[in-house]
Amino acid sequence: MKRFLALSLLCGLSVGPSFAQPATTGPMPVPPTDFATDARRSAYLARANEVLQWYVDSVKPDNPATFQSAQIAAKLARREDAAAVSARIVELMSVPQSQDMFWMFPWTAVSYLGRDQLTPAAKAAIRGQWKTYFPMRGDTENHWAMYYASLYLMSELYPDDPADSWFNGKSSAENRAEAKAYLVHWMDLATTIGQGEFNPTHYIGEYAIPMLYLATWAKDPEMKIRGHMKLDWLLADLAENTLNGVLRGPNARTDDTSVLQRWLALSSYFSWQCFGNTPPPASYGGFGVWFAVAAANYEVPEVIFRLANDRSEDFLQRDLKRSRRKWRYSDELMTPVYKTNYMRRDYAVGSYQGGMTDPIQAHVWDVTWAVPDPRGVHNTMFSVHPYASAQAMQMYFTELPDHMLALLSSQGKPSYDVPDKILGCSPYERVFQDLDTVIALYDIPADDRYPRVNGFFSKDLTDVTPDASGWIFARGGNTYLAYRPLAPYHWEHLLGYKQLPSKVGYKWERIDRGEKGDKLLVSPHGKNGTIVQAASVGEFKDFAAFQAAIRALPLEFKLAPVPTVKMRTLRGKEIAFTYGQAPKVDGKKIDYAKWQLFEGPHLNAAKGSRKLTITQGRLERVLDFNTLTITDRVTP
């Protein structure tokens, strides 16, 4: 067992400098108003340089541990201290390497950044490790993106080396061909039936960085433009799914922290770096430096920049994504994910249809609200079925059934097999969202490990008001929220996790923050459901008026034989939704088969098309992988 990425691994390399990160701890960045090329460009470069500066400053002369690959890359990117850098590389390369693709891409970056700066000895030292150290390819799409992009670039940097000079016994040409074939295949998948690790809170770095490297360094113009296009694609997806720079909506893979504090994700580094509209997480997310070292070679297309920053109009975006590969116990290798995001100035509502996408780390739906400063704020509301299952694990992992649950906690996932968990998807959940109404229905077998539903109530909600009507009203930021559990419930404190020092694997302690912490609405009933509706504070005279409006809405539901809800939403839509059946809106069935790869005011792509059209105002950018064409158009 393996492969649950803990990002802290790489952060750990930068031995915690004691000085401040200006953007992380400083005031909220002012959303850009000057979209001129020079203003955007200089601010973007300044942000990248802040990262580099921070790393350069973190080197302590008397402590070699503070001088690692990230510091090396930062110095090379700034063309500083090439001699010292070379010497340090020789030193670092003199011992066996580890970390697999997380080793590969940094050292690929160092090799390229240093190709005209490093001593021959330093270059040879790195190159030598590509023979002696055998990095694993991993088992996720992000692993492979890093692995193959790195292998591709290194085999281009050393284009004619024989098979016995590479760890895997393949020649440069063989490695290059294999890497290219996979990357093309992956891009093909992602641009026809959707991104696998969609809406990534963290993994965006593991795609964006390799793609930036391809765009920057690939010699083959095809791979160069592919990298460029895919990077645009990823950032367009990010831009469209962020509100004030904070990623919203469902995620293929995330973690407990990012689910509660949406801002605290690597994606916030990318919003900061590329869009300038939210602070970066500490240490620039750990991975940030690897983007920053090559950031100058990329320009965020203006249409994407504007897309990230303009929330003057509400919009609804529907995307098609993919589940992780289901090796077994599924009729389909990759099941389609129908993702919805409804974005308003004050809040965002996002979901997919429920069911299994990733065995451990998925997040299915939520309502998140805008806050002036997102740091430390748990600005979200959602419910989950706390599902834990060996068979679900086996679906995705090529493992025997018994040991995985037992090991998760030592692999950094202590919350997987606990009844009060708030992360993960379930085969027993069905979700339907129409604008800012979400209905989640549950039909959990009685013999399930945890036959209950956990609803998350943030510490940052105000005026939480259980109403006689059955609705629970609350306010988050400038958003009124109404939460309707469909079965009896009780409240618990949501316990937090504290990581304990450990030499082997991870150890955790659970913490109760008491009344000051988050609360869990626990509804211990297998047949169950949650309805959430949201509205802007500005839409109602006062809280009471919102409550009255919610109460006035017709709502019928029953839970047996399967949960079913009929209701009118705050937006006047008549919804009929039965567990296991296609939802109906105003009498019309939702036909997921008709969903496009992207559909909305800003991103559009037909299923299977390999072609994304990004639109914002009069700007349009088309990324066409069929013809390897980037088209920038301005509508007159």
Binding site: L10, S98, D100, M136, T140, Y182, H185, R328, T398, L400
Partner: protein, 345 residues
């Protein structure tokens, strides 16, 4: 305790009981290879615990690491003509050495991943069969190139955990899949299902005494036996079917002795050819039932090996009645045992 960092040769402890083992090992006619990792089972991609992992070969001084330090090596197979030709199924694909482990090549490409098991057709040793999470690839040039050969396998349900070639008849291979056992008799040109299961078939073994006799263990269908070369199967009654069985081992010296590993039941031994089975867990580590991951029986001396998940390797000279820890294997996770006749060049 953790193994020393960066140590390809595992040091041998001074346990008296060990000497017998080593004596046996040095006198053995088989070499034993293990696929093992020393990461306490908690391998996180990208982590660094400094351990040496992958393929190990038993030597007089203990288990010596061979070749690449690869934490997720699953199984090793060798060319019956030339034991220097070794195939290792690992997370990245199939690793092959032609020189006994000095140099290696990852012979598969991007579209083969996470193989679990490899079989070489002893009648046509250039033919290599690899089981993947999504089916079967076959090489007819000692692993240099690979083709999918899945005619007769279902579109879904061909997750393949184990691949075994019939040593008696060329082109005859059995595979244990998610949806049962499939058989080819023409070198994988076509397959047919010979046993249907709902969950994965975890291991298949051919009897060293009677090539028509096969035993399979499964995740939820218990253990099964075939007496007709794998064409038909029947449940072995004495074994539980409620929990997954991981693997099974014949004793090449004694047709009555069998061993079976299971996470939930521990180490099960039969001394009557499989008619009855007894748990032999005393002395194995763990609270309650030991997490028996793999078992094997040394063809040279009948020692039973038990790999306990994350807790090392144990051996028993008395059919599991008592167990000894194998020194310097503490914390190891042993994935497979491969006995290679040492008479091979």
């Amino acid at each position: 305790m953790r193994p020393p960092r960066i140590l390809p040769l595992l040091r041998v402890g001074a346990l008296a009981g060990l000497l017998g083992l080593l004596t046996a090992a040095t006198a053995a006619t088989h070499d034993l290879y293990l696929c093992a990792a020393f990461n306490n089972g908690s391998r996180v991609m990208g982590s660094n615990d400094g351990s040496s992992n992958g393929l190990f070969k038993r030597t007089a001084d203990g288990f010596r690491h061979v070749g690449i330090n690869y934490p997720l090596a699953i199984s090793a197979t060798f060319d019956p003509r030339d034991a220097k030709v070794i195939y290792v199924a690992c997370l990245s694909g199939v690793l092959r050495t032609l020189d006994g482990g000095t140099t290696w090549r990852l012979v598969t490409g991007w579209d083969e991943t996470e193989p679990k098991s490899i079989a070489v057709d002893s009648q046509a040793p250039d033919h290599v069969f690899t089981g993947l999470p999504d089916g079967i690839v076959v090489s007819r040039d000692r692993g240099q190139s690979w083709q999918r050969r899945e005619r007769g396998l279902p579109e879904r349900g061909k997750y393949t955990q184990v691949v075994r070639a019939d040593r008696a008849r060329g082109g005859r291979v059995l595979i244990g899949c998610e949806s049962g056992i499939y058989l080819t008799e023409n070198g994988a040109d076509s397959w047919r299902r010979v046993l249907a299961t709902k969950e994965t078939v975890n291991d298949i073994q051919q009897s060293p005494h009677d090539p028509r006799r096969w035993i399979a263990v499964t995740q939820s269908a218990g253990a099964l036996e075939s007496r007709d070369g794998g064409a038909t199967w029947k449940i072995i009654p004495g074994l539980p079917a409620d929990k997954a069985l991981y693997n099974v081992a014949f004793d090449a010296r004694d047709p009555q002795r069998l061993a079976l590993a299971s996470w939930s039941h521990g180490l099960l031994v039969s001394e009557d050819g499989g008619a009855t089975w007894t748990a032999r867990n005393a002395g194995l580590p763990g609270e309650g039932i030991p997490r028996a991951w793999r078992t094997a029986i040394d063809p040279d001396n009948g020692e039973i090996y038990a790999a306990i998940f994350g807790q090392g390797l144990y051996t028993s000279g008395d059919a599991g009645r008592t167990w000894r820890a194998v020194p310097a294997m503490e914390g190891a996770s042993v994935q497979t045992f491969t006995f290679v006749p040492s008479s091979q060049p």
